[in-house]
């Protein structure tokens, strides 16, 4: 007999009397549920199979990122950003680095920007693979998941060559990268560009024009555009509703203006539109990576991997052991004694889920005075009760997984 469950106080009765001599059922889609892909709770009031209302509880993985960030020097906060949207960690890392560079007025050379773009777009593909495969799993189509995850392993191998880690990458440093992309990384990236389109097409053929998938997903949980904007939707969910808002195009950062890519949009914001928007975005990301690889090959300079800011970029170890200034810079950087200007900055990047914003307030010390992460999942998950009102439970599960709610980003 368990007494430890935290029963929410709004859960008074198990049957809720309603009009017309109907009794509504209360169903707890609890924090641990195989289909919710993350730990958040929904207490659904249901009329048979149809949902009348949903009460959400989040915070089951609240790890106090914003509080931790007030106690860490700037380069140590990158490891925290990894763990927000952990399916596409490089995007979070680069976003944070760009925020700090904005505060410090550091301009990164073009090659660094292009290398960053390669990492970010690979991460975007990795995240969209997870989301789309999971939409398939929730409709019952497990084959796509097992096929396409093999290719996600290859993206992990590329990340390993760049930074050493698969999932929580801590990729890059303030001002650029920790090392140049080595030959193996370039070889693997080019191989990825060659073989992945075939695999993506295979995955698409399984689901895109599949009768069962289309019947399940079309007109399932549609969301009107004006409500989506009012709820702060960004990213693929907003683009599926019909608005082409993409931070890479609206406020270009990291030399995205040099690249030629389209923004896919949907029509009525249902599950099929979100699936298709993410699918098309994967194709666009492949285009961007191809262009970035070509641009990097055409550049005569193949050795720059960081901006020229000795105050913030660790010097190579040979210099640290032999030269006095390098030793002093190394010491200053690691102990966090580099000068930080007072000010505040807001920078946003196009994360895989939407506009991932970083609001950084600095008071001149080695740690920030305040860091606020504008997490897209947190903002748009509020719309879930409105989205599922009046639809069936299985469609609600599908809506939730198509919104790509990642618990780490929800709770931070």
């Amino acid at each position: 007999m368990s007494t430890g469950i935290a029963k929410p106080d709004f859960w008074q009765h198990d049957l809720v009397p309603a009009a017309e001599h109907k009794e509504l059922n209360v169903l707890n889609l609890g924090p641990t549920h195989p289909a919710t892909h993350g730990i958040f709770q929904n207490v659904l009031t249901m009329d048979g199979e149809y949902i009348q209302s949903a009460e959400q509880t989040i915070g089951y993985i609240h790890r106090a990122f914003e509080k931790i960030a007030e106690r860490r020097p700037f380069y140590q906060i990158t490891t925290l950003t990894d763990r927000m949207n952990y399916c596409s960690a490089p995007i979070n890392n680069m976003g944070w680095h760009m925020t700090v560079e904005k505060l410090l007025h550091i301009e990164t050379p073009k090659r660094v920007d292009y290398l960053r773009i390669i990492a970010m777009e690979l991460a975007r593909i990795a995240d969209h693979i997870v989301c789309n495969a999971v939409i398939g799993v929730d409709t019952g189509a497990l084959t796509g998941f097992t096929f396409i995850f093999q290719d996600r392993e290859f993206i992990y191998e590329i990340f390993e060559e760049i930074c050493g880690a698969r999932l929580t990458t801590n990729m890059g440093r303030i001002g650029g990268f920790e090392r140049n992309f080595n030959d193996i990384a370039w070889r693997k990236t080019k191989h990825f560009l060659d073989y992945f389109p075939k695999k993506l097409k295979e995955f698409e053929n399984l689901l895109m024009r599949n009768r069962i998938f289309m019947d399940r997903c079309i007109n399932c949980g549609p969301f009107p555009l004006d409500r989506a904007l009012a709820y702060g939707f960004t990213g693929p969910n907003l683009r599926a509703c019909g608005l082409d808002y993409d931070v890479r195009v609206m406020d270009p950062y990291c030399s995205y203006e040099d690249f030629d890519f389209k923004i896919p949009i949907g029509q009525n914001g249902d599950v099929y539109d979100r699936f298709m928007v993410r699918q098309k975005e994967m194709w666009e990301s492949l285009k961007i990576i191809r262009q970035a690889v070509e641009k990097c090959e055409k550049m005569s300079d193949k050795t720059t991997f960081t901006a020229d800011v000795p105050e913030w970029v660790l010097p190579p170890k040979e210099e640290v052991y032999n030269e006095m200034e390098a030793l002093i810079y190394h010491f200053k950087i690691v102990m966090g004694e580099s000068d930080v200007p007072v000010g505040e900055v807001y920078h946003c990047v196009e994360g895989a889920n939407g506009e991932l914003g970083f609001y950084l307030v600095s008071d001149g010390g080695r740690t920030p005075a305040r860091v606020h992460f504008r997490r897209p999942c947190f903002v748009y998950y509020q719309a879930f009760p409105e989205m599922v009102k009046g639809i069936m439970l299985s469609d609600a599960i599908l809506s939730m997984s198509s919104m790509n709610v990642i618990a780490g980003e929800l709770d931070a």
Partner: protein, 160 residues
């Protein structure tokens, strides 16, 4: 455009600053709701990016202040703006903005959870990320990061 804001609310705008590429207004908290409505309807700031709290601990010049920081974005004009409003710690009440943008529902709950800012008129002002019966407001500067009751981590080894 920003002069229109100053013209419409002359006594409410307390300060104006430019940080990097964003203009930042510090306004009086009583007129914050009207200013946001004006920005949304007249100046076409249709998107509320984020809303968060701040804590300015007491210095010799002033008492403890709690702040609210709101970022707005105008899609059509490709323009962003930041609004700040402060309130003394003893009176942490703000008007709610859920009638203007429903996106602020959870953002205000998060600000309440972390700082203790209350929003009058909010439909469901409960803690959102911490447990409901959590006794303090953790993001305030005087609350420690680590759980003081843990006994397995040796603070002296961690440089604390």
């Amino acid at each position: 455009m920003v002069d229109r804001l100053g013209a419409a609310f002359p006594e409410a705008v307390l300060a104006q600053e430019q940080f990097h590429d964003m203009r930042c207004f510090t306004v009086r908290k009583e007129s914050l709701h009207d200013i946001l409505r004006f920005l949304r309807d007249e100046l076409d700031f249709n998107f509320l990016t984020t809303l968060c709290g701040m804590h300015y601990p007491a210095t010799e010049g002033q008492e403890d202040l709690l702040g609210l920081v709101i970022h707005l974005h105008s899609f059509r004009n490709r323009h962003r703006i930041r609004l700040k409003a402060n309130t003394p710690l003893k009176d942490p009440a703000f008007p709610t903005f859920t009638d203007l943008w429903p996106a602020t529902n959870w953002m205000e709950r998060e600000a309440f959870d972390f700082y203790g800012l209350t929003f009058t008129g909010h439909p469901n002002l409960k803690r959102i990320l911490n447990m409901e019966d959590f006794p303090a407001f953790p993001m305030r500067k005087d609350y420690p990061l680590e759980d003081p009751t843990r006994e397995d981590k040796n603070d002296s080894m961690f440089g604390r």
